[in-house]
Amino acid sequence: MIAAKATTVEVRLPSRLGYEKVAMSTAAAVAKLMGFREARVEDLKTAVAEACINAIEHGNRLNEALSVGVVLNAGEDSLEVKVIDDGKGMKGLPHKPDIDRKIHGEEDPRGMGMFLIQALVDEAEWVAGANGKSSYVRLMIRLDKEAD
């Protein structure tokens, strides 16, 4: 089944770790319907999971009264995913983890989520919401007709 025109799927998650897997499964299902090959579906799953984890932990600070919105827009040749939280937005841009510095205790072993997101999708941007709320990360993954 190929999406002939834009199709939107929305999921709302509680701010509880583990529920990122619901968004991950939904994104994978949409990507498979669009015809993405398996390796790209796996890339998308990890990117969406990490975006949701950031939203749950850092955006909504694990406040279960707040939810994380996940909006998937399936176009003809690309899938856009927005992950929306009630935080002030991410500070700074992703940096490539330095494994040597981590092993020698000079860099936190954690903090790889944003790097993975950026590395696994075709486009990633972090947008701070007005009034310090409704910030989001927008991911874009393209259906590569040559490779797919």
């Binding site: 770790l17 790889m112 993975l116």
Partner: protein
């Protein structure tokens, strides 16, 4: 929502005759896996467990918090003169481990047979 991480330890001998401690994981490797991943590793005798092999064959989901636990294990192993190897990762997580640089400190193998043959 996250599946519990199970871990158990096997003692094997490589074809070359070296004792190899295998940590077999099952379930998700995420922030809730600290006891299963680090706790199990920290329970190994540092004097005798010099070759540690991680089995990810039954792991479906690893997130960045889980990767951080593996890196914490590598930090401790580096300080204890232990060598860590892994097998059973999917093609995707082999790529992710390579991207974050883990392969510099932990050799990856497709399966247990090939891992043991190299040790």
């Amino acid at each position: 929502m996250q599946s519990d991480t199970k871990a158990h330890v096997d003692q094997l001998t490589s074809p070359a005759g070296h004792p190899v401690t295998v940590l077999r994981f099952e379930g998700d490797i995420a922030s809730t896996s600290k006891d299963a991943v680090l706790g199990t590793y920290q329970g190994l005798p540092k004097e005798s467990a010099k070759l540690v092999l991680l089995d990810f064959t039954k792991v479906d989901y690893i997130n960045s918090s889980g990767i951080a636990l593996v890196i914490q294990m590598l930090i401790e192993a580096s300080n204890s003169a232990q060598k860590v190897y892994a097998f059973g990762l999917s093609a995707h997580f082999t790529k992710v481990f390579t991207m974050v640089g883990i392969t510099k400190y932990a050799g990856l193998f497709p399966n247990q047979f090939e891992a043991l043959a190299a040790l």
